[in-house]
Symmetry: C2
Subunit: 336 residues, 2 copies
Amino acid sequence: MAELRRDPIVGRWVIVDTENIHKPEDFEYEQYISKGGETCPFCYGNESMTPPEIECFRNQDTSSNTPGWQVRVIPNKFPALQIEGDLERRGLGIYDMLNGIGAHEILIESPYHYKDLPELLDSEVENIITMSCRRANDLVRDSRFKYVMIFRNYGPAAGASLEHPHTQIVALPMVPKSVAEEIKGGQNYFEYRERCIFCDIIRQELQEKERVILENKHFVSLCPFVSRFPFEIWIAPKKHNGCYFRISPEEIPSLASILKETISMVKKVFVNLSYNYIIHSSPINGSLGTEYYHWHIEFMPKLMRVAGFEWGTGFYLDPTPPEFAAKILKEASVSR
Amino acid sequence: MAELRRDPIVGRWVIVDTENIHKPEDFEYEQYISKGGETCPFCYGNESMTPPEIECFRNQDTSSNTPGWQVRVIPNKFPALQIEGDLERRGLGIYDMLNGIGAHEILIESPYHYKDLPELLDSEVENIITMSCRRANDLVRDSRFKYVMIFRNYGPAAGASLEHPHTQIVALPMVPKSVAEEIKGGQNYFEYRERCIFCDIIRQELQEKERVILENKHFVSLCPFVSRFPFEIWIAPKKHNGCYFRISPEEIPSLASILKETISMVKKVFVNLSYNYIIHSSPINGSLGTEYYHWHIEFMPKLMRVAGFEWGTGFYLDPTPPEFAAKILKEASVSR
């Protein structure tokens, strides 16, 4: 019989199919084959094709908007939100609106068009992490913003419109719904137990080991007990910390390594995979939730189309139990 | 500048791009081209390929599981939930579980493999509605169930694994998260104003007319002010009613007609479109929310891939303002 599992943080129920388990070979996913060829605005030498850079790690003897950079941050050329202006709330009968103030930046992760994170050097991934934290810490100083959303779409099935690997950084004047729900759940638990629910989950997972994929000094990566998608993975710091970009410098190599290795394991099982990950972090300028929120990365491989009822109901069906997914990932990493 | 709009029911924020508006020709969606050919278990003559029928509208002189039917309901051959057994709740450390009890039925909408709703006769669509209500009213009598979810995936991009048009009916031992949130929002509003928030929204929309697509005696179809997706449409009864399957018989022709005509309008603009719709209705066996919940259909055309941040954050970007979408749909219906 299948199991219905309830997410302890947000109360979402998921059907986990423990009977007709989908194995890796059962997924007919859209493979990401590079189209290559065309001129890429994110590649070396094409710096003038993008808006001027906001911040950059580059060789000392090079000048802005020329080659010689390692990580480059630019404004999105077609931003949905604009940075100039005052926040204006207004009503329209029963509805509420806000003008579209925000920031939308693109972090070009490396000069290499064809290198995903696992193919980069550890130091290169550390640069990406350091730069995303620098940008977030800069955006936080703008009191209009309530949240900094950092995410990555890799491959067309994951919604990436440009091939060259990049991370997106969006500053918003409100807290997104899913994060607000997680914070609410964390707060309820904290009021009851005076502990962080994420810390308790991580403690239980590290004891049981069944769903843990990787663990290093500062981080753990695991298939969550209430996975919405097959082979969903969370990466979280073992020590409590609400805010991603307050990560301590000594944790960065640890994060770079677990991120690289986790994605590498998934891509060994699913070649040419498209995927997304999103960094969930506590809101800013109000410091809501730093006690009971715990930052983490949610990694979602694009293995299945999402049908109608998931959208309409927030109710998911996961055909691969996370215990099984974790086992597959660990075996693949050993055997190949 | 773009607008940030807040859903008055669940508090979700959506970026509505009012500047770089996506027009119908800007969407490169996956067209649904039938593969045909193979033997379809839902077609006339193949009744023995499915589990035995649960309920059926069929010609008097025909016997069960043979041709001669108009609408046919069968159990899902590969159900994620099973009907037999007692509900057992249990904990696993911090987690909560329930065994996979539920019902999963398939309503085969007509004998015609290639006819979507707009191509059916009004009376045929009425049969589908009547039958789905009958099944829901039957499932409600099982006190283990708390919700009956009725939805339709049309086309492969919408997650339909079989071509022959069908509706799915799933009975669940819990209330799905999205519906629970809508009920909570409706309840908050009701406590404050002693009115149904959905009724107030419908009243405002019918006055403004800007987002209304169609209206008949009992129903309205409109592009919601806070659309998550381009060309998202809601169909709702004008008179307050929390529960879909308590619809009065005289409303059924009105619903059949607006449903057919709405889908027909969308498919005039987007040929070979895949889409989903979900019927949102109040929970059962506890009669939560009948005062402040208002049943409705949420229709979602599959025009775009959903990128990462929507999943991870519950925060959406709609590149086609609903006012513009409504205008396009109305013009297309007149001109062609």
